[in-house]
Symmetry: C2
Subunit: 84 residues, 2 copies
């Protein structure tokens, strides 16, 4: 069975986000008002082959913990959808 | 009114993703099988003040086109949710 996984990796609350701050500054300097709390994270898509949905979810969770995110500074969420 | 916006910026189909290829290689070298088509994009959250939902959506769309994405190589989607 093939599954499409969609992973969102975000910085934990309280972790400084220089990219977000830089973009927020650029937004303000372009004259936009009322825009704040800009935070950047990663959006990752991948295809996994697995015998069941549960096996696919376990594989994606393992990939998130070991490779796709840094557990010290980041959290992750993901969805798994079966594809043809 | 305050709105939380969640933006996903993805590379257009056909655009080479060196980061995705590198991570895919690392995944394989760690012994994982059945994992492919790894693609990286940006997940951005921000808070906007606007008079209405429509105004908030128009502002976020404008920010996406001008600052948060590169229209030549990237596409974007976003959701806007009112917050207290």
């Amino acid at each position: 069975m093939r599954f499409q996984a969609e992973v969102i990796v975000s910085l934990k609350k309280g972790v400084l986000d220089p990219q977000g701050s830089a973009v927020e500054g650029a937004i303000k300097s372009l004259g936009y008002e009322g825009v704040g709390q800009v935070r950047f994270g990663k959006h990752i898509t991948l295809v996994v082959e697995a015998g069941s949905r549960e096996a696919a979810e376990a594989l994606v969770a393992d990939l998130c913990k070991r490779i796709l995110s840094n557990p010290v500074m980041e959290t992750f969420t993901f969805t798994v959808t079966e594809v043809a």
